[in-house]
Each structure stands twice: as structure tokens, then as C-alpha cells.
Amino acid sequence: MARYLLLRALSLGLSLVVASVVIFALIEVIPGDPAAFMMGLNATEENLAALRAELGLDGSALDRYVVWITGMLTGDFGISYTYRVPVAELVLDRLWVSLPLAVYALTLSTLIAFPIGILAAATRGTATDYGIMGATQLGIAIPNFWFAMLLVLLFAVTLRWFSAGGFPGWDNPAAALKALTLPAVALALPQASILARVMRSALLETLDQDYIRTARAKGLSRAQAIRRHALRNALIPVLTIIGLQFSFLIAGAIIIENVFFLPGLGRLIFQGITQRDLIVVESVTMLLVFAVILVTFLVDLAYALVDPRLRRR
């Protein structure tokens, strides 16, 4: 296990280094002057020189990379060119919208997907099963941002139960949660559809195993066998999928924030793009990629803890 951990940790470190080099190269090293790009056509030579100095563009690419990456490691993500405040501050501020949104959506999708997936597996081959499978097929095909617009149309425009967007801040937790509800539902729909399908097929697979037949032979009902034996084993693939879905959850959150005008990391990135604030874009994407790589790593570890057979691979 120690050897496995060490190897995985090494590969995690290597992935992070390569990922950071790719991001840095795409933003800063490719031909063209980032300073000129950021300031646009009306830049004076003086301002350009000042920005170049601020970005450290006079140094070599390697020097700049080292400065950037040591900064990232010590929590110094640079100063935003448009906001004139530390990027770390902006990120921390926005994280209080994006992170709760992601957690909210993940909770919702799990709460929806588990019972539905289990019900479909338990009623395999019946009308209920086909109905659920049809609904999840539709759920996968619906773009979450369009579903979000439909939710706005129904609950904000027609019924007026929710506001169509914006975020009141966490001073009033109830209002904040309410503002995140429609976005979280929109984000949870495709996730829940995929998860329910995985839950169903994982459960069906375990239900075919011999130990389930033994449990049934001992007199357990089908429901009891599912609850006591099959469910626990079916959870392994389901948890893996939840982990792998993390990157899609992040990408989805970035898009959904735009539908509801939520001041989260997604809005920050897109404002960075329109305002050509490369410092913000570079550091925030690095953080997102870091989060995805870290979660994948943790899922791998959890998997190895649960299933010792995998450690030998």
C-alpha cells in the first residue's frame, strides 16, 4: 500500500507540473505580446512598458514560470489587471458562491438518482423501469443551461416563486440558498440522469452474483437482499462516477452561473476573458484543473482502500 501511495502521489505531482506548464505556455509563451493583447489598440508605449514590467515580461519564460508557480504554491495568485486587487482575494470571494452551488447540486443529484436508480433495478423490465430509463435518457440529452432557462421561464417568469438571477450574499442564508436553488436543480438534472443509470446497472450486476442468490435462498426477500448486500457493493462504481463527474460539475457550474448572473468563479473567468485580464484567467483555470486532478487522485485512493485488488495494478 505504501508503494502504491508513493507512486500515485508522484504521478499526481507530475500531472500538476505538466498541467501548469501547458496553461502557462498557452497564455504566456505563444507568439505575441500578452501586454499588448491585454491593453488593446489604444495603449501608449509608456503604459505597455509598465504592464510588461508588472507581468515580468522582460525576464525569460522559465523565470516567469517559476515566479508564477511559486506564487500559486504560496497563495499569491498575482494582482488582477482590471480589478487591481489580488486574484486570491477575488477567488476566495467567488468561491463562496461556486462551491456551495456545486455541493448543493451534487447533493440534489445524489438524492434524486439513488432512489430512482434503485427503483429501476428493483423493478427491472417493468413499465416503471422503462419509464425511468426513458426519463433519464431525456435528462442526459437536455443541455443544463437550456433547462435552466426553462426553469426561469416557469418558476421566475410565470409562477414568480423565484427570482430570475442574482445573488443576495450569505448575510441572509435562507435568501442565498433560495437564489442557488434553481441553478442547483439545473446543474443536477444531467448528473442525476447519468448517476441513476449507473446505479441501476451496477445494482443489476451485483444482483446476478452468487452471494445474492445465497442470501435469497436463506429466505431474504428481494428488497432485503438489495438493502443488506447488493447496495453496498453497487456503491463502488457509483462513487467512482461521482468522482469522475466532478470536472463536468465544475464546467457545468461555470456555465450555469452565467444563466443566473451568479457572482461565482465562472463569471470571474468570463469577465477575465472579455476584459482580457490574462492574470485572472491563467490563475483561475489552474485552480480549476488542480481541483479536478486532486479529486481524481482522491477517488483513486478511496477506490484502492475499498478494493485491495486494484493496488497491484
Binding site: V18, A141, P143, M149, L150, L288
Partner: protein, 274 residues
């Protein structure tokens, strides 16, 4: 040959309609969509404009038809990039199983998986500005590890089979065996995966255009039509409903086709379908 799964027929019919519409729009659309006509803006459906007109007076049906072109072209080329680069990488990894080459290819794959299409598109757009080409690149790059993984996973068990051993004894090299004996046996897997990636590509293209990272005006795209309709959702909800419906039906068709193809092409699944 047993009877084809109904999912395959329904899915193929749905996707076929969209493909036909996209092809038709290359030679004919009900109304030209290049000009702005304020006089005819935001009209309800009528005999002249079957689905009405948008905020610039353009015929909505014509916009949707040309939008299908954009979606299909972007997703299809992205699948092409994934197949062209991913399949050879996967075959090479399988042929040299356990070697450093295999390890590098697979770790590289893991790394690309950490860059969702959206993040790639953000990075390219931040530096080069938005375009449909960015969307193709972003989705295509993300497709590479998908196809590499499928090709490697499918090829590994084949390498242990007798007929491959026979080919090796006959003196064929790994490259030749991969091309002549392994690849043909992976076709089913790859066709199914291509259908899935095609449908994911349609969704991704719509999302990228929606947030402004994809096709730029005046090229019509379903995602951007939705973004433009969002501000008018209070007064003209149909403008926001119809492009979304087009995306859903196209994606649903491709997904059903993928599922149907998997069932039709894999005899083992045919029995155990539940």
C-alpha cells in the same frame, strides 16, 4: 441477423432528419438570414415564417436549419480529431503493453481528462479570441483520450488471442498486426463511441456558443440563439424554447442510436438486456 433494436431505428431516424435538414440548408432555406429586417422582427409563426422571426427579423426556421450545420460540423470534425489521434495512440499503447510508451500515453490521457472542453476553450479564447475553430479544437482535444482509452481497452484482450500469436509467428510486426488484425475487430466499439462523442460534441458546442466561446455572429448556432433569446424570455419565450428543443432532439437521436448500435453489434448484450 436478428431484428434491429427499436432504439436504433428511432435514433437513426431522428438524427437522419437533422442531418438531412443540415444538408438541405446548404442549398435551400425558406428565407435568407443575412439581412436585418426591423420591419419583420419578432413576428409570431405565420404562413410566411412557419416558426416566426427573431429580434433581427430573421426567419427562425432558417436560422435553426443553418444552426444544424454549425453544430454537426463542429461535433463531427471534433470526433474526427479524436479518432485520428486517439485510436493510433491507443493501438500503440496496447501493442506495447506495460512499456514506458504505454505508461506515457496513458498518463498523458489522464492529464487531458483534467482539462474539460470548457477549460481548453477558455484558455484558447482568452488568448486568441473566440471562434468556431476554438470550439472544434477544444472538443476535439478532449476526444483524444476517450478514443485512446477505448482502442487500448478493446485491443488488449485481442493481443492474447491465438490468431494474433499466429500472425506474430508468421513474422508480422506490431504495426502491421495492429492495422491488419486488431483495428478491424475494434470497429464496432469505435463506431459506438463515435456516436456517443458526436452527441456529446453537439452538447458541448451548444454550451460553448452559449457562453460566447464558439461560433461568432453572423454564423447561426443553436447555443448562441439561446444566449440571444435569454434577454427576451419574458416577452418571446418561443425564441428560447425552439433552439433548445432542436439540441435535445438531435442529442436524444444520437444517444438512442448509440445504445441501439451497441446492442445490435454486441451479441453478448443481446441476451442479457434488461
Amino acid at each position: 441477423m436478428s431484428r434491429l433494436p427499436p432504439a436504433l431505428l428511432i435514433g437513426a431516424a431522428l438524427s437522419g432528419v437533422f442531418l438531412a435538414v443540415a444538408l438541405l440548408s446548404l442549398v435551400w432555406i425558406p428565407h435568407p438570414i443575412t439581412g436585418v429586417s426591423i420591419a419583420t422582427r419578432l413576428q409570431p409563426p405565420s404562413g410566411t415564417h412557419w416558426l416566426g422571426t427573431d429580434q433581427l427579423g430573421r426567419d427562425l426556421l432558417s436560422m435553426l436549419m443553418v444552426g444544424a450545420q454549425t453544430s454537426i460540423a463542429v461535433a463531427l470534425i471534433a470526433v474526427g480529431i479524436g479518432v485520428a489521434l486517439g485510436v493510433p495512440l491507443g493501438l500503440a499503447a496496447a501493442a506495447s503493453r506495460g512499456s514506458p510508451l504505454d505508461e506515457i500515453i496513458m498518463r498523458g490521457n489522464d492529464l487531458i481528462f483534467a482539462f474539460p472542453s470548457l477549460v481548453i476553450a477558455i484558455l484558447i479564447t482568452a488568448r486568441y479570441g473566440p471562434s468556431a475553430t476554438n470550439a472544434i479544437l477544444a472538443i476535439g482535444i478532449f476526444n483524444i483520450p476517450v478514443f485512446a482509452r477505448v482502442a487500448r481497452g478493446g485491443a488488449l484482450p485481442l493481443w492474447t488471442l491465438d490468431y494474433i500469436l499466429a500472425a506474430r509467428t508468421a513474422g508480422k510486426g506490431k504495426l502491421r498486426i495492429s492495422v491488419e488484425h486488431v483495428l478491424p475487430n475494434l470497429m464496432n466499439l469505435l463506431i459506438v463511441q463515435a456516436t456517443i462523442q458526436f452527441s456529446l460534441g453537439i452538447l458541448a458546442e451548444a454550451a460553448l456558443s452559449y457562453v460566447g466561446l464558439g461560433a461568432q455572429p453572423p454564423t447561426p448556432s443553436w447555443g448562441r440563439m439561446l444566449a440571444e433569446a435569454q434577454t427576451m424570455i419574458y416577452t418571446h419565450p418561443m425564441l428560447a424554447v425552439l433552439p433548445g428543443l432542436a439540441i435535445v432532439l438531435m442529442v436524444l437521436g444520437l444517444n438512442l442510436m448509440g445504445d441501439g448500435l451497441r446492442d445490435a453489434l454486441d451479441p453478448r448484450l443481446r441476451r442479457g438486456r434488461g
